[in-house]
């Protein structure tokens, strides 16, 4: 089996107008400590800005933090734009104030696992490593 030698590249993104970035910054620092290459977009990003950064930085994963309740708009929009940009291989994951029903609905639309309040950072790190090892084996 291929033991991946290159670092996993993650774009941590804060879409929409919400300024609550505690979670985004904590997860970005945790990803970095876990050995990922992390790019943080900063605040108030549109879906277009996020996808353009993802393509430009050639990332494996886009991790979005949404605490504004706008997740049902923002995740599908970013997913569609990633697909349009030929980046459908990129994992779109994230976290925030998102109910289990909404998580299930977004899962059906091709969005990856989403993490709610109180999740340890290791859960997201393990999920991304696991995903990477099965999708990046070529």
């Amino acid at each position: 089996m291929s033991e991946s030698i290159r670092k996993i590249r993650v774009l941590v993104a804060k879409p929409g107008l919400d300024g609550h970035d505690r979670g985004a910054k904590v997860i970005a620092a945790a990803f970095r400590d876990a050995g990922f290459e992390v790019i943080y977009t900063g605040l108030h990003q549109t879906p277009e800005m996020i996808v353009s950064a993802a393509v430009q930085e050639d990332v494996d994963v886009v991790a979005m933090s949404v605490l504004s309740g706008a997740h049902l708009t923002l995740f599908p929009r970013v997913k569609a734009l990633l697909d349009d940009a030929g980046a459908d291989h990129v994992l779109l994951t994230g976290g925030g104030i998102i109910s289990e029903d909404d998580m299930a609905a977004l899962d059906e639309q091709g969005v990856g696992k989403l993490f709610g309040p109180g999740t340890p950072t290791t859960a997201a790190i393990d999920y991304i490593r696991e995903w990477f090892s099965t999708h990046e084996a070529v």
Partner: protein, 573 residues
Amino acid sequence: MSTIEKNVPGTRELADLVREQEEELAHLRARLAEWERTYDATPQRDALFSTSSGAEVRPLYTELDREGSDPENDLSLPGEFPFTRGPYPTMYRTRLWTMRQFAGFATAEETNERYKYLLAHGQTGLSVAFDFPTLMGYDADHARSLGEVGVCGVAISSLDDMERLFVGIPLDQVSVSMTINGPAIILFCFYVAAAERQGISAEVLRGTVQNDILKEYQAQHAWVFPPEPALRCIIDMFEWCSENTPNYNPISISGYHIREAGSTAVQELAFTLRNGFEYVERGIARGLDVDSFAPRLSFFFDIHNDFFEEIAKLRAARRIWARRMRDVYGAKKPESWRLRTHAQTAGVSLTAQQAENNIVRVAYQAMAAALGGTQSLHTNSMDETLALPTEKAVRIALRTQQVLAFESGVTNTIDPLAGSYYVESLTDLLEREALDMFDEIDALGGVVPAIEQGWFQGEIAASAMRQQREIESGGRVVVGVNHFMEGSEKIEIDRLKIDESVERLQVARMAELRASRDSARVDQTLAALRHASSGAQNLVPAILDCARASCTLYEIRHAMEEVFGSYKEPVFF
């Protein structure tokens, strides 16, 4: 021993008294040493014995920890300098704190109904939560607002919306707090104009607009303009309000968001007060008499889990503020020295796991707020880590305050923890540490340079990361999250969902407004605002004219932005 002696002791008697006291202390020291031997010989629990800010908490505090203290100067009496024991002489014996639940969602009409519900249940003040587009100065029909209209608060894009928000609520009879910062001056003008439409003049308005831009750059991030023009708008409001709305607080200097973003209690205290002094310095630099605006400066603190530390924080805040206002800024009116504050229980302490436990967390935090002497209080609802609160959850949160105020007995006497060896030691410690942080900020060139260097942001993020590590290592216990997790799996709580139709309705309303108003008047008032923005005159009258002419929030923001530019965040993590 009574503090009021009828007979003044002579020199000889004094010497006897001093010797007697020294003997007592020596005796206490000896007994304490003995107690310490017992303590050291006994196993202790494996736990973090520290404040949430990381200061060591000793197992026991005694009179010895108060040696060299100066109760006369440090504590005094309630309502007297330095106000450690409370901003008012009679505190809750005269008037309880204002029970003020922050609320806002969907349309102005739906929020208006919630306000009437809260008032009917005994709430005594209103507090407006705006949606993200409004907080950032975008109209409901702006492209950037897509998906966010009415979701996290109420959508207010014009004077018409503001008017609808308060239908049937006479603005001369209820005090209204508005949480808005970047475009605060605009929403404030909508509010004044909405009162006008009710036939109420500005001078009788009571309430508060948050209007604290410094903590937005540091923590909360709902900014519009760069620091200098943003600070100008705030000082314009100080000036205008001191002349036109004598009962209205033109700012609520807020530690809440700094704390929620991850700071410690000490950082919250220091950053908030230093921000407050920055506003004072800016007002003085404008040429305002400090006593003309300082009495209307108000504060807003977070009340987190560490019960005694939070109480000490409020007491230390009052003391630091009073001393510096008098001694550094030369304020002469006691009202300028007196720190009045709103408090809110810590949203960030709530857990999605076993959400009902949040009722208990909120109750302890609320008690700390009362023992700390707050002037108003919002208690969070148990379901807020999952969604906006339901009516039932909000009612429980309000009832929590009522149980505290009317059943617990903590309101019977003023500042009941004064003289507690531990609470007084903590109060002193917090004061010292905050003063040290002021020096650090000054060494960076002051508040605005420290923001531009990302210093506050970095300090807050580092504290957040430290707390996360403590939780993940299990060292810091969070019930239901990293310990006592049985029953955490299933979340059974009703949730308030905002329908997408809200956005469609608001967008349609904007189209209607744009079609029906006098567009020549819109252009003319916006041009006048641009002109005023490039000059030095007070901006409130020009923005009020725009509001009355039905200019929208974004139109007004944009006119100012053309002159002021917009803020670009330095990105750090």
